[in-house]
């Protein structure tokens, strides 16, 4: 299935929860969705017979200035098609439903996005830091991050 077909199919079910499809060759095309309906959308993307996206390639958190973004790269092992799903949330309230129960691999990806960007995945069973020490402060991949001066008595920079 091509991205625009997937977009039409999703649109017919979720109407205005699906915001837009952006096609801009040679970039990948992506579909922007409403963060609040993300879980249901992902669920049907995995389970509907014409989608069958059973393989979550990657989950990325992004800092976009005002907003935080979450990007899902999906792939279907059976039907061999791909799609990119994006959702944006405001920085003050970065709440995104967790898709960990749909694709188990999202568990660590979400923890990483929480660790480095600070996206709050709701419904994740154990959302703690994964790469940085558990008592680290701040989210390093945010654009306005400055590293702390000292950590446990050691100079950082």
């Amino acid at each position: 299935m091509l991205p625009n077909e997937i977009f039409e199919k999703l649109r017919s079910v979720y109407s205005d929860q699906i915001i837009e499809l952006i096609e801009n060759h040679p970039s990948d095309s992506f579909i922007t969705v409403n963060a609040s309906a993300l879980f249901e959308i992902c669920h049907s993307l995995r389970d509907e017979a014409f989608f069958m996206f059973d393989y979550l390639m990657s989950l990325t958190g992004m800092d976009l200035g005002e907003n935080l973004g979450v990007v899902y790269h999906l792939y279907s092992m059976q039907l061999k098609h791909k799609i990119v799903i994006k959702a944006f949330v405001p920085k003050e309230q970065p709440k995104v439903p967790s898709v960990e129960r749909i694709w188990r691999t999202a568990d660590w990806h979400e923890r990483e996005a929480y660790d480095l960007i600070g996206v709050n995945f709701e419904g994740h069973h154990n959302l703690i830091r994964i790469l940085l020490p558990y008592d680290w402060e701040g989210y390093p991949l945010r654009k306005d991050y400055t590293a702390p001066e000292m950590y446990h008595g050691m100079k950082v920079s």
Binding site: L131, Y145, A147, M154, K155, V156, S157
Partner: protein, 171 residues
């Protein structure tokens, strides 16, 4: 060290060594160093190659130990991060005296490629433990490992053991 060359000395037909006990002890110490391999990153892979058939690190009399309590020196190979730094310190403290440290690779020397923006990288292992020999490179070539090991042997074989304080002028 040439200790055995002295056996050719013509006292009573040879076979007698006249030397300092200190030299003998240092000779023994420098030729049989057991090490704790603290493999952290890419440099550790190069060190694995160093240990394998082509370069044969064990010909220096070094034997890898997995416990710090049995080790003479610790080989820090790779990037030291803050999460790891405390562990290195603990392991170093567990080693018995006399103990030495070899820091392998730019990362553990000074932060290496990560010195500028590496918010989670300790800029040099010498910030937490004293280092005896630095081996530069990213990763160092096996020849550099050999050179570094020889430098450590040289250092050990020239160390004062008896009357240390007096000879070093501390008092």
């Amino acid at each position: 060290m040439g200790l055995l060359n002295k056996l050719d000395d013509p006292y009573d037909g040879g076979g007698i060594i006249l030397g300092k006990v200190e030299e003998l002890l240092n000779w023994g110490r420098s030729k049989s160093d057991w090490y704790l391999h603290f493999g952290l990153a890419c440099c550790a892979i190069e060190f694995m190659a160093m240990n394998a058939s082509h370069f044969d690190f064990m010909r220096f009399g070094t034997i890898p130990r997995t416990s710090p309590r049995q080790a003479d020196f610790i080989m820090v190979t790779g990037t030291v991060t803050f999460k790891m730094a405390d562990r290195i310190k603990v392991l170093y403290e567990q080693m018995a005296e006399p103990k030495y440290v070899i820091s392998v690779g730019s990362c553990s020397n000074c932060g290496g490629p990560y010195w500028e923006h590496g918010y989670h990288v300790l800029k040099g292992v010498d910030k937490i433990i004293p280092v005896d020999v630095y081996i530069p490179g990213c990763p160092p070539r096996p020849e550099a490992f050999e050179e570094g090991m020889m430098k450590l042997q040289e250092k050990i074989s020239h160390q004062a053991i008896f009357n240390k304080r007096k000879r070093l002028g501390i008092e």
